[in-house]
Each structure stands twice: as C-alpha cells, then as structure tokens.
C-alpha cells in the first residue's frame, strides 16, 4: 500500500465510488442511496455538527477499548509467547474469544455490566484483543533461534535479547495483529451502539433508518470506514517510526 503511487489509490477510489453511484441510480434497492446523495447527507451532518457530537460519544469506548486491547494484548502475547506455561493457560481463552459469536455474548455483558460505557468497552476488547494476543505470542515464539543464540553469545542480558532481538523480530506480525485488532475494534464499537444502547454514530444509523433517511445512514457508515482507514494509516506511520528497518524485507536463509 505504501509504495503504490497516489494515482492508483485515487483511481481505485474513483472506480469504487463510481460503481456505488451507478448502483444507487439503477437503483439496486430503494434503500440504497447514490454516492452523491450520501455525500451531501454527510456534508449536512457535518455542517450542523451532528457528526462531531456523535463521534465524541462513539470514540470513547472505541479509543479506550483499543488502547486496553493493544497494551494488554501485546503484554499477554509477549508473556504467553515466551513461557509455555502461560501459553497453555491463556491461548485457549483467546482462541475461544475469537471464535465466540459476539452478538450472543452481548446480552450476557449487559446483564453483568449494565448498558453503560463498561459494556461497550468490553465489546470492543472482545473484538480487538484475541487477534492481537494470538499474533503477538505466535510472532514471539517464532523468533529465529539463532538470533537469540547470537544475542547470548555476545553477552546480551535477557532484557537486551527481548528488546533488541525478540520484539523487533516480531514487530511486523505484532503490527499486523494490531491492524486486524483495530479494524475489529471499530466493528465492535458500532455493534455495541447498535445492540446495547443507540448512542453516537450507532444512533445516527438506527435513527435515520427508522425514518427512512437512507442517505444519512450511509453517510454515517461511510464516515466510520474513512475513520478506520485513517486510523490504520496512523498505525502504519507509528510502525515505521518505531521499526523502520523492518519494512526493508527479510533475508531468506
């Protein structure tokens, strides 16, 4: 994605939006607005400030959930990846978590934690954390053995080997896990607003659907996707800042 020229990105955007516009004009369904209708609805939502108050609400569980998932997820991942005992203890939990049908768990969460922020944060975490944990532990466990041995041969301490060999070696896969986790976290945040209490962007979606204002509904969905893409790009920037060299590709030997 990084090396693809800007032109290609624009071209693919034009194709996708063009297809959307055409599909809206046919129309595929009376509930499917055209691209331009959706964009003008988005402009309207932006101008009267609705979208900002909505995101102020939606971003709370999303950001809190993603930060918790990233910090805790990488922490647990490193831990389970380095110790087979904790791997045995934790991995099954996250494998189950990843496979569990979230919608079925939500009533349970509401029963225990109510309909407030806690439940929504938990939904985000359930969505985001497993893939972060599993990727991190897998990556750490697969650090090339000779690199660790080299660290020992040159008198590295456990901590040196962890910080200068294991984590940099695992970073591409850890970040791949973070990207997947963040995407899943976005889904979780919206899902929680649709299933727990309609607030923020989830509220715009629910409300505009109920009054058949489909352009606004699609405008809200579109804005989420844009935000998610921006967020993923930010993550890529962070990765490059921290582990620039890693993107240079691997020696295959």
């Amino acid at each position: 994605m990084r090396n693809r020229p800007l032109f290609l990105k624009l071209l693919s955007a034009v194709i996708v939006f063009g297809a959307w516009e055409i599909a809206g004009r046919i129309p595929v369904s009376y509930a499917f607005p055209t691209f331009l209708e959706s964009m003008s609805a988005l402009a309207a939502l932006t101008l009267d400030g609705t979208i900002f108050t909505a995101y102020a609400e939606t971003l709370k569980p999303l950001v809190v959930g993603i930060i918790i998932s990233a910090v805790l997820g990488i922490g647990i991942g490193l831990w389970t990846g380095l110790s087979s005992k904790f791997d045995w203890l934790f991995s099954p939990i996250f494998v189950v978590m990843q496979a569990a049908p979230l919608a079925a768990l939500i009533p349970l969460l509401i029963m225990v934690y109510g309909i407030g922020l806690t439940s929504k944060v938990l939904v985000v975490c359930i969505m985001a954390m497993p893939v972060i944990v599993l990727n991190t532990s897998g990556a750490v466990r697969n650090t090339p053995y000779t690199l660790k041995e080299m660290g020992r041969a040159f008198l590295g301490t456990e901590r040196d080997i962890m910080l200068k060999i294991v984590i940099p070696a695992a970073s591409p896969i850890i970040f791949a896990g973070l990207r997947l986790g963040v995407s899943a976290g976005f889904i979780g945040a919206i899902l929680s607003e649709l299933k727990i209490t309609p607030t923020g962007v989830g509220d715009i979606i629910t409300y505009s659907r109920s009054i058949a204002d489909y352009p606004s509904m699609y405008a809200a969905i579109f804005s989420i996707i844009v935000l998610a893409v921006l967020f993923l790009n930010l993550l890529e920037k962070i990765e490059r800042l921290l582990f620039g060299g890693n993107i240079r590709g691997y020696v295959s030997d």
Binding site: F154, K164, G245
Partner: protein
Amino acid sequence: MAMSQTRVAPKRGDEHDVEYAVSVRDVSKNYGDVEALKDLSLDFPRGQLTSILGPSGCGKTTLLKIIAGLLSPTSGEVEVNGKAVTGPGPDRAFVFQDFALLPWASVIRNVAFGLELRGVARSERESIAQKYIQNVGLGGFENSFPHELSGGMRQRVGLARALSVDAQVLLMDEPFSAVDEQTRRKFQEDLLSLVQQESRTFIFVTHSIEEAVYVSDQIAILLPRPSRVSEIIKPTGIRNKGTDDIRRDPEYLDIVDRIWASLRSYVE
C-alpha cells in the same frame, strides 16, 4: 583494542595454562537418544588456528557451541585460559554457520551489535566496527542491509562482528561455506594474514580438507557420531611458505591425501 595488538601474556601456572587457550576434556553430548559427541578431548594452542574437520552431522557445530558456552555438555568440561566454561564469556566470539544477522539492522549496526550489547557508547563502537568493516573488505556497505548483500558478504559481516568484540578466542563455524571457490580462496588467504596479525586463537570448523590444510596450524579430524578426535595433524612444514606456494607444496598435497585416506572409509 589493546589486546589485539599484543600477544596475551602467558599466565603463571602449570604448562597447560600457558600453552593452550582452550582445553576440552572428555566432553560428551547427547541430544535425547542421539550421541553427538563421546568423550572428546582436544587442546587448542594459544595464538594458533585449529581446524575441526569432519563429515556433515558429526558434531562440529555442537563442539563449537559447547566451547562457546551456548550448549552445556552432558558430561566433561571445557576450560578457557584455565577457567571452566559455564556460559558465554567476553573471551570468546562466535561466527555463526547461518550468519545470524539482524535483518532490520544496517551492516554497521550488525557489526557493532556485540559491542552494543556490552554497553559501549555508540560513537566508540561505530568507529571500532568501521575498522573491522574495512578489514573484511566491506568498506562502502556500512549502511546496506543484510538482504542487499550476497551470502559471502553476509558471512563477512558476521566475521567483522566477532572480530569487533576483541575476544581472544574466535569460534568460526564454516565461515566460508556460503561463497564460491574463487572468493573462498581469497578468504582463506585473508584468514591466514588475519591469524598472523591478530594473535588470537582461532577455532575453525570446515568440511573441506584442502581448506583445513591450507589455513591450519593444527587439524583435528572428527569421526562420525558419536564423535571423538581420531587424529591430530600439524602441517608445520608448510606454515612458513608464502600463501601462493602452499598449494603446490608436496607436503601440502601429502597431508591432503593422508586425510582423505582416513576419511574416505566413512563417506559412502
């Protein structure tokens, strides 16, 4: 870097301490049911190059890693400068058979990595690394990354990294296996002059008979598993010849033949 310029002063004590940098005593190593080494004893004279020669899978890497302190022997012990080895130490540096370079680090950072782990300040370690990058002929590639180098160049990065930490004993695991024959000969000549300049003890694993005879002060021939030293050969007569003349020397050819004769029965 003072150590590399002057010969290590012989320590007082019994004869072994003075003469041998490394002594391996009755070392056995089992991997589960596989007996890799059995009661292997071998002494490595200080300041000389000893080759360990043997067929693939006979335990050369295992022996080298035991000396490095990366593996612990099942029984027996290893002494370096008269002190028993319990783990890796500053007196030994390792050149890995599969390079073990950090793929995300530039050549200079890789070469300086051993010093980085020892807490040497950046400017100091990079100037030391710079010197050895020149020494192994990689000048100009300081900022390249391992995937941009050929196999032989990567191997030289590993060699420069081991030289930079200024250890008295260099453990080299088939350092020339990744290069073509021409480059290999060049490396062998470089190694000979390195041994003369550096007054360090080199332990050199190879499975090339010619290479072993060409570069070594002493050759230890290992037999297939469970390995012991079957023979020690000291090609002293050819050591003082010029690098160009060695390969034509009758003694060189003689020794190559002799080693081949004793190994051929194990190669089917």
